[in-house]
């Protein structure tokens, strides 16, 4: 999965490798709450009998995580940053069948 966005560099390290941080803008966040789709859930329920990968869920979570990351990037852009460092992901299930995907990091300007 490619989570990159052309104009902004993101990294889960404390700096962008090979570049220097010149300005900090603070924490940026992005979240999305997704519920599972009935059709996918029925398929997953059947797949659940024999076990193995639940592809529908894998894709659902990938898409959701990408959306959370994109929102975080949008926020960083609106602050005038050109990179987000120390990116972390968090997942929490809020109710049965729904989950929150959350991405956060520090918006910075790198030289």
């Amino acid at each position: 999965m490619d989570v990159s966005n052309s104009s902004i560099v993101i990294s889960n390290t404390e700096s962008i490798p090979g570049r220097n941080i010149v300005e900090f803008y603070g924490v940026v966040t992005g979240n999305t709450v997704r519920a599972k789709h009935v059709g996918r859930d029925i398929m997953a329920g059947l797949k659940n009998i024999v076990g193995g990968e639940l592809k529908g869920y894998t894709e659902l979570l990938q898409d959701s995580r990408r959306e959370a990351t994109d929102r975080m990037i949008e926020q960083a852009k609106s602050m005038g940053a050109n990179a987000v460092v120390n990116v972390r992901f968090a997942t929490s299930s809020i109710s049965q069948g729904a989950a929150e995907l959350f991405a956060y990091g520090t918006a910075v300007r790198v030289s």
């Binding site: 993101i10 889960n12 659940n48 076990g51 990968e53």
Partner: protein
Amino acid sequence: MENLSLFFNFGLPLIVLMVAYFIGSSIEKNHFANIREREDDLHGFPVVSFDTMPDDWNVSSSDMVTGSIVVSLDYFKRVIAGLRGLIGGRIKTYEPLLERARREALLRMTESARAQGYDAIFNVRLETSRLANAARDGKGTAGVEMLAFGTAVKLKGRFG
């Protein structure tokens, strides 16, 4: 009539249990074989968990890469795990599930980095999250999501 209700109450769950056991085991075996093959193929691609890079790595560009998978246990193993939960102790049926999910997530991350032309991944982190409710009796979806992410780098001249 009595025979029919006997079949639906005991026979059918038993058949489902056996089918789940045989198909589930074969899926798991094939998945492990597939993982080993792809790991051999990626042998030599540096994937490390340190957060600082060695000084002699001369980076030209970097980006974050991720890999994830959602897997679940088969019905038979969930029932066994549920029974095991009554007496406590090591639940052996869950161990290979988590192991293969973790290795698969790492492989997907590494494959995506290689496909994009990166030379190495560092600061790799792994995260596990329980996706849905796994009821004791083996009902309900017992999905586990495994996420691997790290910073992929392109090097100017390999390790130069």
